[in-house]
Point group: none
């Protein structure tokens, strides 16, 4: 997580205090009042900086649409697991700009420990009961067996598929949807990297 300046930290605190006190986030004007700024743009620019650095999210156009992503001061109750979108071509990394939000839960929620949630896009695994927008719990590991559901990266494209190793230099990534076709990767061909495997799933209705 990127460093923030002292003033940005004051603004972040101000937001948290306002929520603690009133139950809802401050407006730009509220921040100015609390911290003594005379222009709403002073608050605005600090908010944009905090957003850029991943500390808050701002819902465009909505009043008080600020939420704090990362609670800097106190330790999370259990542990907060990041939710990463499967959208961005090129990376399912844990870089802050890819983190949609965080979910507090026990690391042993599933039988196997996990590292992050992946937000599912598309219907390629629908016959495995994995629907669009589901959150798949991913464990970062290279310990993959045939039949595992894996997060695979091929040439900077990330997908969720069944894993099947046909022989020493041929891997097949199988979708669970008869309308989709297998992805066959010959070891020479393209570079395939297995980010991890699915150990569970959460669906928010």
């Amino acid at each position: 997580m990127k460093n923030i300046t002292q003033q940005q930290s004051r603004v972040l605190d101000c937001i948290q205090n306002h929520i603690n006190k009133t139950g809802f986030p401050p407006t730009r004007a509220d921040i100015c009042n609390d911290l003594g700024f005379k222009s709403p743009n002073a608050a605005e620019t600090h908010l944009r900086a905090l957003e850029k650095k991943g500390y808050i999210t701002i819902e465009s156009g909505r009043s008080r649409g600020i939420s704090i992503v990362h609670k800097s001061n106190q330790e999370p109750i259990n542990h907060e697991f990041p939710v990463i979108g499967l959208v961005a071509a090129g990376s399912a990394t844990l870089a802050s700009e890819n983190i949609e939000k965080k979910i507090p839960c026990a690391q042993n929620l599933f039988s196997d420990n996990f590292d992050y949630f992946l937000r599912v896009r598309g219907l390629s695994m629908i016959e495995a009961g994995i629907m669009e927008d589901d959150l798949v719990a991913i464990k970062k590991t290279q310990d993959i067996k045939n039949g595992d559901i894996v997060v695979a990266r091929i040439d900077d494209e990330v997908t969720l598929k069944y894993f099947k190793k046909e022989n020493s230099n041929k891997v097949v990534l199988k979708p669970a949807n008869k309308d989709y076709s297998d992805i066959v990767v010959e070891s020479s061909d393209a570079d395939l990297f297995i980010e991890g495997k699915s150990v569970g799933l959460i669906r928010e209705n």
Copy 2:
């Protein structure tokens, strides 16, 4: 604390859910959107009623200036939720003999609060992405809309199905599996009780 009506309760839930989901309270328009009202005054009058009864406070003139005074259930951030098998004919009750195990997680893991997990048996909801052995998070409520996935008890048999009210005395429980047929319940017929509805899902691989 004074009694609130069913509609007022829905509004109160809506406020809490909005805070859980976004971090800030809803506007009148947000409430209308969520609950299907067409006039902002519908939300306004409900809010005034809830304020009068002491459930919320409204800061005059401030956008989203709603705070929930009385947190009906004191929000055990970390709580253990029972897992109940759908096997036993006759009861999806919370009686200890039905509890398979307990899962520690935040009550607001899903956008809507929930009361227990139900272990799914059979394939009747497979096209909704609900597989055998999945844990469906159930909120005990009577606030059911068409299309909700409900836990229904008919003559001591408990099932998970889509809910559809055809008219005042005909309810259809629809499976999400073309090999299964609808269950039609005429109000005179059998006694149907809706235990609650699905608000989320967990799958342990």
